[in-house]
Subunit: 162 residues, 2 copies
Amino acid sequence: MKKKKQHNQIVHFEDKEHEALMGIWWTGILLRKSAKRFFSNYLSSEVQFNIMIVLKYAEKEMTQNEISEQLLVDKSNITGLIDRMETAGLLRRTEAPNDRRCHHIELTEAGREIIDKVEQPYRNYVKNLMRIFNPQEIANITDYMARLQQAVSEENITALSR
Amino acid sequence: MKKKKQHNQIVHFEDKEHEALMGIWWTGILLRKSAKRFFSNYLSSEVQFNIMIVLKYAEKEMTQNEISEQLLVDKSNITGLIDRMETAGLLRRTEAPNDRRCHHIELTEAGREIIDKVEQPYRNYVKNLMRIFNPQEIANITDYMARLQQAVSEENITALSR
DNA sequence: TTAATTTGGTTTACATATAAACTATAACCA
DNA sequence: TGGTTATAGTTTATATGTAAACCAAATTAA
């Protein structure tokens, strides 16, 4: 039995607002770790899963750039991601007919099989995890996160200047 | 003016629970990006900030392992992080008197100056961001995230087996 | 007190992430 | 039309993240 790591008070919380924000931060980290382990036998990360889901449900041909924008993955990051997934046989690049700058990305047959095998168990896993919340709480979370995302995006952060 | 990237429906949401979970996931990513930009003139990431805050408020000498557990940063990751921060002059390793396996990590004078310069603006930034929530909502967020973290930790994820 | 196990930390190999510089093509516009 | 600008994608450099193998020191057990 592995000893459970527990992290307490990371930061010296000065206020409730900070504590709440760090809660979201921490939860995000834990979710990422957890998802990575969940997919580890088939995919190297949740990001790869998300890319494949986007491709599976896309109603049109997708370019790298479109995937990049939908998933908040930087374009310079997408290149390597698509490279590795192409090497792994999950998807392929094809030439876009009207724009010689971009490629269309599509799942291969093997990729489709894998996403089909992995998708439902993942949805069950999520469902199971979220059982701890009642419908009102689920709705609250969605609302809070949407508002916070909006606030972060609008912040237009000015880096601390020296 | 930079065009605002908007990400909509990443994943084809089957249910409310999934939507809520993805909201947290997404928010975590946006917060990380935002914090990185915020600190960029002084530190290369929020993780470095967190390490320095831990050191600043620690009531005893901290080892790498203790930092690792508090911050959920893998020990194999801590090594390089401390290396880089030591190179940057932010902190130093000293030998622990009673255990020749471990080091104590402490802020340098320069590191202390930087954390002192950066900490308050960061707290203001957080405060400003969270203004959009009322006290009840702040309390809800903290509660929800704590419960979800607990659930994720207990999950003891069984990876999808082939 | 030796032998087995645990713990703190490093190393290696690889994946993900960002910023910045760059190439090629496309779009715009005077 | 021709020159500027914007866009899609790649490359490079560097940071963060994980798993697994490893070493040395400490702890536990026989």
